[in-house]
Amino acid sequence: MVAIIDYKAGNITSVARALENIGQKYAITDDERKLKDASHIIFPGVGAAGEAMAYLRKKKLDNTLKNCFSSGKPILGICLGTQIVMEHSEENDAECIGLITGSTRRFPERLTSGGEILKIPHMGWNSVNFKREHTVFAKINPEAEFYFVHSYYPAPSDMDVVLGTTDYGITFCSVLAFKNLVAMQFHPEKSGRPGLQILQNFCAWRGSA
């Protein structure tokens, strides 16, 4: 059973519908026991880092997530879920979970590309340059694009955890992979077939790249 962590941070239904489409059983839960029993954990999210962390702490889900990570359970972070596995976020100056060293930063103001001012949020379809192969990204066409909507991005201090980067005025880390954790800034549940393939790969993954 795959558990989707319910921490009142939006778009959980989209993730659930995508899992239904690939025939994967799941539970949406904030119950520590069920999370510990789950084979895989999906940590989605839309919204602000500060509020999300406050809720996670209140429910003691930050510790549960840390424990699940140490136990070797495969964990998938999506969007905000990717930002708050870092130690700190510039959004609301929030202290985060810290599964990965480094912080979450805001896109600089007046980003440009080819003379044009780029808009923030980075919203729409963009590609990912993968640095190495990973089971969760098997069978993904390198030209595939994914749906992003965000103003902040993870900036890990250890470059070895950067699995993929994306260009938007700057080159930022869009996919992180560290031990049994894979986290992506884009929304696989909204990225068409390549996105569904990633979810399917994750659900079949045993947690070691």
Binding site: N21, G124, W125, N126, A144
Partner: protein, 259 residues
Amino acid sequence: MLSKRIIPCLDVRAGKLTKGIKFKGNVDIGNPVEAARRYYEEGADEIVFYDITASSDKRDIMIDVVKRVAETIFIPFSVGGGIRNLEDMRKVIAAGAEKVSVNSAAVENPRIITDGAKAFGSQCVVLGMDVKKVAVSSKIPSGYEIVIEGGRKFTGIDALWWAKEAQKLGAGEICLNSIDADGTQDGYELNLTALISENVRIPVIASGGAGRPEHLADVLTAGKADAALIASMVHYKTYTIAGIKRFLTEREIKVRNIW
């Protein structure tokens, strides 16, 4: 780099797909869930639903359409039309839409933008603007005026001012519809689109007037739009989304080509 988005717009009336010209004379042309699926398969980057159901008692039919669409397609989609308050927004988002667009209601009560952004995040709130070209005046310095109630009522509000104001209030995106161009298939209103897009920092979706792939190329370059809405071009199967994307790729406009 970010791709330009091609977004089919489905007007839905009492659960059926429909299309009119200059907001009048609508005819039913099919099932919106099947159409959404077809566009998803063909490479649409996002889908916009616009509920033009006249009577409020039939509005729940739209919620049912949204639920079925959310089970069928795995790209973002937005729903607009008849959204009056936070509760309407909540229903549409709970049914599975990523974004909600507000139009007349935001003109009458701009707080709906702020409240919506606070409750669901700015990325959920799209400001729909219906715009008509008018004489430049001290009240309408841009020469473009906001109209509401499906194009029937002039508001005395300048379109450029309203776009900037909506951004300040927390809108995450603007869907800019030219009523003069809507349904004509003669091309987008390029001046209007560039004017708005260059003066806001949120993405602008151009709407109204698409008839040929060149029109999309124009609005995504000279018109400075981040995305282009299409309707008649694909509803009547004159063009496919894949074909339009091939054309844009040949013109060196970056679009998503793998799906």
